[in-house]
């Protein structure tokens, strides 16, 4: 059984008289340990898919089965539990708590989990051990994103969701982050779902889902995913 399965999922927004289908009846599956990339232009509905998958948003119609449970039927409370124990999030703008140091940001996530990774180790795994006591404002964008990843990893989530993690970063830093994510996926056997508008990085994924106007236009598997450094964009 797949780790994640979207079955005919819709997300509709009502703007006055007009109904917009942000997600328009999509179905796909993601397997355990996959590195999946959802790619598409702005407004293709990929962030909505990720939000729904992450339990931050509800779908209007359809089923989302995660580990055999339909999260679309979850109550708010169940969704909180789901986010707490199953999901790790990495945002485009990192969303670190400015008042906490790098390590404390990681601990913040770790403290509410059942079996968290040691915070120091998580920081170490993203290569920021020497900066662990710095506040976010004292870190560069790439470093902040790494803290953000460490925060997500510390929870040992079943699913790591990344929303344009490189969007605010320069090319090289972006590559480093992607490398970190790819390595994490391979080493930790972590399922990673990444959203990007940049189709150039799709070769590094095991599974590429391309969206356009709320619909899946392509759903392919790379037999031989490339290393990040083999890709140029």
């Amino acid at each position: 059984m797949s780790l994640v399965e979207f079955k005919n999922v819709y997300k509709r927004y009502k703007m006055g008289e007009v109904v917009i289908n942000a997600v328009d009846g999509i179905s796909f599956k993601i397997e355990q340990g996959e590195f999946a990339i959802v790619v598409g232009a702005s407004g293709a509905g990929k962030t909505t898919v990720l939000n729904i998958l992450g339990g931050m948003d509800n779908c209007t119609e359809g089923e989302i089965i995660v580990r055999g449970k339909d999260i679309s039927k979850f109550s708010d409370k169940q969704l909180i539990e789901y986010r707490r124990f199953d999901i790790g999030f990495v945002f485009q703008f990192y969303n670190l708590v400015h008042n906490l140091t790098a390590k404390e940001n990681v601990e913040l996530a770790a403290q509410i989990c059942k079996n968290p990774l040691d915070s120091e180790k998580a920081i170490e795994s993203v290569g920021l051990l020497d900066r662990k006591d710095n506040f976010p404002a004292q870190l560069s964008g790439g470093e902040q994103q790494r803290v953000s990843i460490a925060r997500a990893l510390a929870k040992r989530p079943g699913l790591l969701l990344c929303d344009e993690p490189t969007g605010a970063l320069d090319y090289n830093t972006g590559r480093q982050i992607l490398k970190l994510l790819q390595d994490t996926c391979k080493k930790e056997k972590m399922t990673v779902v990444l959203i990007t508008h940049n189709s150039a990085i799709t070769p590094m994924a095991d599974h590429v889902i391309e969206m356009k106007s709320g619909k899946i236009v392509r759903d392919i598997f790379n037999e031989n995913p490339k290393s990040v450094y083999e890709i140029e964009w």
Partner: protein, 1139 residues
């Protein structure tokens, strides 16, 4: 400013309703409070002014020591500036015990005088004005507790101080025909008097005709200026002062006239009568002294005579006494001699007797000896006779026969021998011869021996007989001589006895003779004494008669003179009274109600100036944080507008308009609410003090404008300043998101052990607290303000508490006060004490003297509601009234060293223990040291011992009340006690503490409303501040909140991040507020406090607990409301883009 920008502004308001409303609310609160209280003061003034105008209150009240006549009135009326004059009468009287024993000021009902208008018009509440002499009008809002109804009877006692009331009034018994309020008495103060306890407790009006007095006692004057000047205004004060001076001049002139017309004449008359009196007195005195001299000289003579006689008698007596002594000693001597002689005689007698006995004894001994010796001799003779006879009869023949035989034998033998010539037979014959010879010899010797033996015995007997005879003769001789001696002794004794007898008789006779002589002398002396006594009595009688006569004459003369003198003195007194005719010009300021009213209004004004400042400060803070947030949120917009080419001014205008609308709306709402509610609520509390009708609102436009202007200005300036800061950035910079405030390590983190123990929320809270300092300030100030207000509200309630609890339960231990009609010394009031002592229900009592006093200390003078109290028995005072310090409750003892004063008085004047104050009054004028300051809430009291009183004022205190403590102080027991005591017509009144306490409680209840207003304000303040703060806090940290949510924190956990901060700030604010509350309470209490009442200074712990609890409750309520807002934060929206 373009249309679109304006549209944008209104949209902004619509989108940020909560923020807009909070700015508006805080401004409404501040401005409303300010405008409301500020409106109260002029409304109060206006009320009083209108009242005075309607009732045509006088501007001056003139009182003279000699009263006024028509000429005086004319003179006053003609003084420039005077518009009308109304003469009037008043006198102070005391109602009888049945009518309550209150001191009443009786005033004549205002009446027009000629063309002059009526002044001080009464506000008739019930019934009608008195028309007949026995009708009376009483006060409507009585403060004394005696409430009369129309139809009630009031009787005044005839004595009013040292005056006779019936000389002043036509009637002493009245029927109440109506009730009214007088503009002269708008407050609880009624002034003082010289009768009763010195304190007027109510006023009453009677018809003018009811006064017997010839001259008017007071003049009410209305000035021209008072039409145009409003009461209490500065212009009024100035005019009032200047006209007062003019009136003084008139007064002096009139005094001179009086002096000339009345006084000089009286003086002359008095002089004449004085001279006459003195002449007569001298004459009479001379006569009397002559008589006295005569009496004295005869007395002297008489005394001398008596003394001579007495001395003679004394001499005689001395002689008699010495004779008596001598006689006594001779007697003693006589008796002792006799007794010694008698003793000797008896001794000799005994001796003789002994000698006789001895003689008898020796004689009998001697006789018996002789007899026994004779017997012995006789028996020896008989023995000899027997032996001789025997010898003669038997032995001698035998012997002789033997001898003859032997001789024959011998001779035969001799012849044989001679016969015989044979030798041998010869030899044997010889031997036989020899033997026979020997036998013959033996027998011969035996014979001769026996013979000699007999011869010897015979000789012996004969010598013995001879010896005995000699002895007998000698013994007889001896005995005879002894007998002779005894005989002579006996004779001598007899002689002695006879002699003694003679001597005895002789001596006795002598003694009797001496005694007789003495007795005669004694009786002579006694006669002399009797004689003298008689002479003495007679002489004295005569003298006494003379003295009596003299005394009679003298007392007659004295009486006459005393009468004359009294007449002269009366005349002198009368003259003295007249001789310093003085007019007193009193202005409205001297009317206690008038000045109290303005003082109270001014105090209120002071409060009005403090609160709004505080609210305004909070308003500014709220405005700062809100506007800052608003502008920061609109940072990009500002950048964009700038980039589009809008000028800074038009951009600022948007925010200024936002603030302005909030400020103006808030001000208007606040003003309307404040002005429409506060004056009425506050005046409602003041109504317990003043009865001049209900308040009508008078808008205090300047204050309203000031309040609104302040609010508008503050908010506008704040928004401009905040905007300018934002506009300083270049457009590009402004369009970029503002770098979030960097996290910073706080000091606390360096205390690693502590910091390590902190949870994340705690760490976050700690850092956040210090991150947003303005928010910290605002919350702390807002919450502190809320807490302080509540503390003050409850503190104010607490401060009323001691007035009832401590004053009437702890300090006043007595239950009732009995007021005698006339004060006096302990002895004079003994009827009272003994009567009370006999009552079963009375446990303790003490006499006290209470008099109005004026206190001076360092140029400060207090002459209102201050009493000098002297207690009869200072050692037992603590059982009646407990004088102790407020702090520490240390019992103070009243000593002769100085006085004890109450705390309010000491506070007002800054008097400390050890200071010296000047006390004056009807009783005199002196200085005393302050020895202690005691807890007291009602009126001002000075306590001193009777000893100190008399040493200070040179007289004993006149006790005028008796404090009584009852065993059973139930209502019924009190009533029966009262009615029992009042049966004695020397007692004027009985009043009970319980009644006063009840009145007081009622009075204070109306203040509860004020407290409620304060608590509502506090709540409003807390809500506005906390709501606004939390609202902004959430808005600012919506991303953070969303992040927490995404990370899987549940709502409770997420909220707690915000709440912890709020709670910490609230707690901090509460702590500050509790401290602030203490100061605020003390400020309000001291400002609100009226002159003769001290409010409690203690805030109970419960008040702090309430304040903290309420504030916490408000804060939790705000948090509860906010939790919905946190719940509603949308993760997707919030995290979608950069701010």
């Amino acid at each position: 400013m373009t249309k679109s920008l304006l549209k944008n502004t209104f949209r902004e308001i619509k989108n940020t309703k909560a923020r807009f409303i909070s700015i508006m609310a805080i401004i409404a609160l501040g401005v409303g409070f300010f405008a409301g209280i500020k409106a109260t003061v002029p409304s109060m003034y206006n009320l009083a002014e209108n009242y005075y105008k309607e009732q045509n209150l006088m501007d001056y009240r003139l009182v003279s020591t000699v009263g006024f006549d028509e000429d005086d009135i004319k003179a006053v009326a003609n003084t420039e500036g005077v518009s009308s004059v109304m003469p009037s009468y008043f006198c102070d009287a005391q109602t009888t015990a049945e009518s309550g024993g209150n001191v009443v000021r009786l005033i004549s009902v205002p009446e027009k005088y000629g063309d002059n208008s009526e002044l001080n018009t009464l506000v008739l509440k019930e019934g009608r004005l008195p028309e007949k002499p026995n009708e009376i009008l009483v006060e409507h809002d009585s403060i004394s507790g005696t409430k009369y109804n129309v139809g009630d009877k009031i009787t005044f006692s005839k004595e009013a101080g040292d005056k006779d009331l019936s000389e002043q009034l036509v009637c002493l018994e009245y029927t109440v025909v109506g009730t009214a309020n007088s503009p002269l008495y708008i407050s609880y103060q009624r002034g003082t008097t010289s009768i009763g306890n010195g304190k007027i407790s109510e006023f009453m009006y009677v018809n003018q005709k009811n006064f017997k007095t010839e001259r008017y006692t007071e003049l009410y004057v209305k000035a021209d200026f008072s039409e145009n000047c409003s009461a209490f205004s500065d212009a009024y004060e100035e005019n009032s002062e200047s006209l007062a001076e003019t009136l003084e001049t008139t007064a002096n002139a009139q005094c001179e006239v009086f002096d000339k017309d009345v006084i000089q004449k009286a003086k002359n008359e008095l002089g004449d009568s004085k001279t006459k009196y003195n002449d007569e007195k001298t004459k009479a005195e001379k006569q009397l002294s002559d008589a006295k001299d005569k009496i004295e000289s005869s007395q002297k003579e008489f005394d001398e005579k008596i003394a001579d006689a007495q001395s003679e008698l004394d001499n005689a007596k001395a002689k008699i006494d010495s004779g008596k002594t001598e006689l006594e000693s001779s007697k003693n001597e006589y008796y002792s001699k006799i007794s010694s002689a008698e003793a000797e005689i008896s001794k000799k007698e005994t001796q003789l007797k002994n000698a006789e006995t001895e003689y008898e004894k020796s004689k009998s001994d001697f006789d018996s000896q002789i007899i026994s010796a004779q017997e012995e001799i006789d028996s020896g003779r008989a023995e000899y006779e027997t032996a001789y006879n025997e010898y003669k009869s038997t032995q001698e023949p035998q012997l002789l026969a033997g001898i003859e035989q032997a001789q024959t034998a011998v001779d035969s033998l001799k012849a044989a021998i001679a016969a015989e010539t044979n030798p041998d037979v010869q030899a044997v014959l010889n031997a036989q011869l020899e033997q026979a010879q020997q036998t013959l010899d033996n027998l011969n010797s035996q014979y001769s021996q026996a013979l000699s033996k007999l011869e010897e015995s015979k000789a012996k007997l004969d010598s013995a007989q001879a010896e005995l005879d000699a002895k007998k003769a000698e013994g007889q001789a001896q005995l005879d001589s002894a007998l002779a001696q005894i005989e002579s002794g006996k004779t001598a004794l007899e002689n002695g006895k006879a002699e003694l007898e003679t001597q005895k008789t002789e001596g006795y006779n002598k003694l009797v003779e001496a005694e007789n002589t003495l007795n005669t002398a004694q009786s002579q002396y006694d006669d002399g004494v009797k004689e003298l006594e008689k002479q003495k009595t007679d002489g004295q009688q005569k003298l006494d008669d003379a003295q009596k006569e003299y005394d009679k004459e003298k007392s007659k003369a004295d009486e006459k003179f005393a009468e004359a003198e009294e007449e002269i003195n009366d005349a002198q007194k009368e003259l003295d009274k007249l001789s310093s005719p003085e007019w007193y010009v009193f202005t409205r300021n001297d009317n206690p109600g008038y000045s109290t009213f303005s003082q109270n209004a001014d105090r209120l004004d002071a409060v009005a100036s403090v609160f709004p400042v505080f609210f305004l400060l909070v308003a500014v803070l709220v405005c700062v944080t809100t506007m800052t947030r608003l502008i920061e949120e609109k940072r990009t917009e500002i950048g964009t507008l700038k980039a589009l080419g809008y000028s800074n001014i038009s951009i600022i205008t948007k925010f200024v308009i936002y603030a302005l609308i909030a400020a103006i709306l808030g001000s208007v709402i606040g003003t309307v609410l404040g002005v429409c509610s506060l004056p009425f609520i506050i005046y409602n509390a003041y109504k317990i003090l003043f009865y001049i009708g209900d308040i009508t609102l008078v808008l205090n436009i300047p204050s309203i404008v000031l309040g609104i202007a302040a609010a508008v200005l503050c908010t506008t300036v704040v928004s401009i300043v905040v905007c300018m800061r934002s506009l300083a950035h270049k457009p590009a910079e402004a369009m970029r998101p503002k770098a979030p405030k960097p996290g910073k390590r706080i000091l606390l983190e360096y205390i690693t052990p502590l910091w390590k123990r902190f949870s994340f929320t705690a760490k976050l809270t700690a850092r956040n607290l210090f991150r947003y300092k303005s928010r910290l300030c605002m919350t702390v100030i807002g919450v502190a303000g809320c807490t302080a207000l509540i503390v003050a509200a409850f503190g104010l309630l607490n401060s009323f508490d001691p007035l009832t609890k401590d004053q009437f339960e702890t300090i006043y231990k007595y239950d009732a006060v009995i007021v005698p009609k006339e004060g006096g010394t302990e002895k004079e009031l003994s009827y009272l004490t003994s009567e009370v002592k006999n009552k079963d229900n009375v446990s303790r009592f003490m006499l006290a003297s209470q008099q109005e006093a004026t206190v001076e200390f360092k140029d400060q003078i207090k002459d209102e509601s201050t009493y000098l109290t002297v207690v009869q028995n200072p050692d037992e005072l603590d059982t009646i009234i407990s004088l102790h310090t407020r702090k520490g409750k240390e019992e103070l003892t009243l000593t002769d060293d100085g006085v004890l004063i109450n705390e309010k008085l000491s506070e007002e004047f800054g008097i400390k223990v050890g200071n010296t104050i000047r006390i004056s009054g009807e009783f005199g004028d002196s200085e005393a040291k302050v020895c202690g300051i005691f807890e007291q809430y009602l009126h001002n009291y000075i306590y001193m011992t009777p000893t100190l009183y008399s040493s200070l004022f040179g007289k004993n205190p006149s006790y005028n009340m008796l404090d009584v403590k009852l065993e059973d102080n139930s209502q019924t027991a009190q009533e029966s006690f009262s009615s029992e005591v009042l049966t004695d017509n020397r007692i004027a009144a009985v009043s009970f503490i319980a009644t006063s306490l009840e009145e007081f409680k009622n009075m204070l209840n109306s203040l509860n409303l004020v407290v409620l207003v304060m608590i509502i304000c506090a709540a409003a303040l807390a809500f506005v501040v906390l709501y606004n703060l939390t609202n902004i806090n959430i808005a600012e940290r919506v991303r953070e909140i969303a992040t927490f949510k995404v990370l899987g924190f549940n709502n409770r956990e997420t909220s707690s991040f915000i709440y912890k901060e709020n709670i910490v700030l609230t707690l901090l604010g509460i702590a500050v507020g509790l401290v602030l509350g203490i100061f605020l309470t003390s400020f309000i209490v001291q400002t609100v406090e009226v002159d003769n009442i001290m409010f409690g200074r203690e805030i109970y712990p419960t008040s702090f607990i309430y304040a903290a609890g309420f504030t916490l409750l408000f804060s939790l309520l705000v948090n509860a409301v906010m939790s919905f807002k946190i719940k509603a934060v949308n993760m997707v929206e919030s995290l979608k883009s950069v701010e």
